[in-house]
């Protein structure tokens, strides 16, 4: 009975929403505004959709059971445990790193470029994971810190001619500062309230960048941002004023793929750095405090843990990672505008964290790769990108709510 009620209710909501969004359209006809209904074909689709919602709600138990039957990859069995792992780990890491470095020389420029993008999302996912997965704070405006990092580098480079390598730590620091300033008043809020405030903050930053035309160039953005250099060597065909060029220095022919590969390698190094730092943090007192705070805030308070300071540290470190990624993003694109930092970016990064399995680094890396490569593979569906995105989330939550690779904490052992 409850099922039937639920199904009717959901179908009703679908009907109302579909009628409003697809069923009627406003058309400007000269100076008059006319209302046109949907075509019969569209109505057929709408009713098909409503029927789908109705039946999937009605038979949700059976559907859930079917989902549960789909085998789940048991990744944890593949990972050796205990002593064997500690022996293997350095070799494994070194192997992965070497592959990552050799791989770009064997594939096309486009693939390397896509891989660089994936690495940026890995960085963002890992950073947001500190805030959401480890400290349990829902941040819906993470893209704001990404924007701060990107604009910090773009502006410093444009106005003061500072190089990428100088700006990288400055951008991270700037994003951290913004995280700190926002976090200080906001982290007293819990759960949903925090999510709303951070969502608002993300929008404020984007609107600020959009309207502060004198400094940020407004909607036109900033173009011609300098690319990173290798010990002062540039990767362009012709040097500007007497700076050394990479291909001249090494006496090889100019190739535009050098630059792409160089950017990719920087991204690899940055990601490796971020992974190292996060791994250390998780094993440090601060990492344990995040975990403890997520489990039982009241117990933490009674033991003398300052919860505001601990949450603030997670928020700030997460923000600085986004700043890192942001300045690299600006350097790679050479052009940024507020368009690149809309809410949908925050949503994608959050989806990476949730799909990957909150707190799990391997899961997040996998999810980030999937989320960047899938849209490329499914180019012809690009109109339905958001729809597919939503569908993937729903299916994942039904099939494996804990994410691709559920988190395994590094457990401290007493010897």
């Amino acid at each position: 009975m409850g099922k039937l009620y639920n199904a009717i209710f959901s179908a009703g909501i679908t009907f109302v929403l579909a009628c409003l969004m697809i069923g009627v359209k406003l058309d400007t006809d000269g100076a008059t505004l006319g209302v046109t209904g949907a075509t019969p074909e569209q109505w057929a689709w709408i009713f098909g959709g409503i029927a789908l919602v109705f039946f999937s709600q009605l038979f949700s138990d059976q559907i859930d059971a079917a989902f549960r039957k789909i085998p789940k990859p048991q990744v944890s069995h593949l990972i050796p445990v205990g002593d064997k792992m500690t022996q293997l780990k350095p070799w494994l890491m070194a192997g992965v790193f070497v592959c990552m470095v050799i791989w770009p020389f064997m594939v096309s420029r486009g693939s390397v470029d896509l891989a660089t993008l994936a690495l940026i999302y890995i960085m963002l996912g890992l950073g947001l994971n500190i805030v959401v997965g480890l400290a349990g704070l829902l941040d819906l405006g993470y893209v704001a810190f990404y924007a701060v990092g990107a604009y910090t580098y773009a502006l410093l480079s444009q106005y003061f001619g500072l190089s990428f390598w100088v700006c990288l730590p400055i951008s991270a620091g700037m994003a951290a500062l913004f995280g700190f300033i926002l976090g200080f008043p906001v982290l007293r809020l819990r759960g949903d309230y925090l999510a709303i405030v951070t969502l608002g903050f993300g929008e404020i930053i984007r609107i600020l960048l959009n309207n502060w035309t004198a400094v940020t160039g407004g909607p036109n953005g900033i173009s011609g941002i300098a690319k990173p250099t290798l010990f002062g060597m540039e990767f362009s065909r012709k040097s500007k004023e007497g700076s050394t060029l990479f291909h001249e220095f090494f006496g090889i022919d100019y190739s535009s793929s050098h630059k792409v590969i160089f950017l990719y390698l920087i991204a690899v190094v940055l990601v490796a750095f971020v992974i190292y730092v996060i791994n250390r943090l998780m094993r440090m007192p601060i990492g344990r405090a995040w975990e403890a705070l997520r489990e039982d805030e009241i117990a933490c308070r009674s033991l003398g843990l300052n919860r505001t300071a601990i949450k603030l540290s997670a928020f700030t470190i997460g923000a600085s990672t986004a700043g890192f990624a942001g300045s690299f993003f600006a350097a790679r694109q050479g052009f940024i505008s507020p368009e690149s930092f809309t809410f949908i970016e925050s949503a994608i990064i959050l989806a990476i964290v949730v799909l990957g399995g909150m707190g799990s680094q391997i899961g997040i890396i996998l999810a980030a790769i999937i989320m960047t490569i899938l849209p490329e593979l499914a180019r012809e569906f690009s109109e339905y990108r958001m729809l597919l995105f939503g569908l993937t989330m729903v299916l994942m939550m039904r099939w494996r709510p804990q994410g691709l690779v559920p988190m395994k904490r590094p457990v401290l052992e007493l010897k």
């Binding site: 007192p285 405090a289 489990e295 117990a299 933490c300 033991l303 003398g304 300052n306 457990v411 052992e413």
Partner: protein, 255 residues
């Protein structure tokens, strides 16, 4: 007479129209076990919440080691050496026993981020010391064998003991226990009894105890306060309380 460790005067806590705690005064000296008893809903836990900074008392003063701590934040109070447990066990149940003990020492381990990232010698030394303190207290409560177990998988009695060890590792001067014997079997209660006495006699701390187990309370308390409906009813040593007609009436009237 030595200075009072805890000196509470006229403590009042009002929730809307309800005076959950009404003008309660109590004193704890160094190396004393002091108990608060009273029927359910009398306001005992609320007293603890006021003392430990979880609630800000409506009125009254709370002096700890000569400083007024009423109105300080919860974590500031516990850093001064006044630490509590809860009526319901509050462990970090997904973490191991030893990790629970390390979280409790967070502020002793609070080194700079950089020294932790690079594992500097001073960081390693602090971590080593924290580990040694944790091991010491796990031994004291007989949980060393379970150090690497997930704390949520311990038996109820072990969880209670871990909670006390986790408080002790913060090096408090006053330990406040909220119904530590609730749910324990007679054997475990006896061990708890011995542990509390050991804490006072060997580790020289004071204990403020809320407990319903009269055998335990009467056996170990140096002083007992009785409150009913938020209001102080009587205080004195075990014999005085046992023979106080008001107390007998309050307890018989309740049950």
């Amino acid at each position: 007479m030595s200075q009072l460790l805890l000196d509470v005067n006229g403590l009042t806590m009002q929730f809307g129209g309800l005076k959950a705690v009404n003008n309660v005064s109590l004193y704890v000296k160094n190396r004393q076990i002091v108990s608060i008893i009273g029927p359910n809903g009398a306001g005992k836990t609320t007293v603890f919440n006021c003392l430990s900074g979880f609630y800000i008392p409506t009125a009254g003063s709370v002096m700890f080691k000569g400083n007024d701590i009423a109105g300080l934040k919860d974590f500031e109070i516990s850093r001064q050496g006044l630490v509590r447990t809860f009526q319901h066990v509050r462990l970090f149940s997904n973490m191991t026993v030893i990790e629970n003990m390390l979280v409790a020492q967070h502020r002793h381990l609070n080194t700079s981020l950089l020294s932790g990232l690079f594992k500097t010698p001073s960081y390693r030394r602090l971590e080593q010391e924290a580990m040694e303190r944790a091991v010491y207290w796990l031994k004291e409560v007989d949980l060393l064998d379970s150090a690497n177990r997930e704390s949520g998988n311990l038996s109820y009695g072990q969880q209670r003991r871990l909670e006390i060890a986790r408080c002790m590792v913060t090096q408090p001067e006053l330990l406040m226990l909220d119904e530590p014997a609730a749910g324990l079997n007679p054997n475990e209660t006896k061990e708890l009894d011995e542990l509390i006495i050991k804490l006072r006699d060997e580790h020289e701390i004071s204990i403020l105890l809320i407990e319903h187990d009269m055998g335990l309370v009467m056996g170990i308390s140096d002083h007992i306060y009785v409150i009913a409906q938020g209001t102080p009813l009587a205080d004195g040593n075990a014999d005085e309380i046992k023979n106080n007609p008001d107390v007998i009436k309050a307890y018989l009237g309740e049950s």
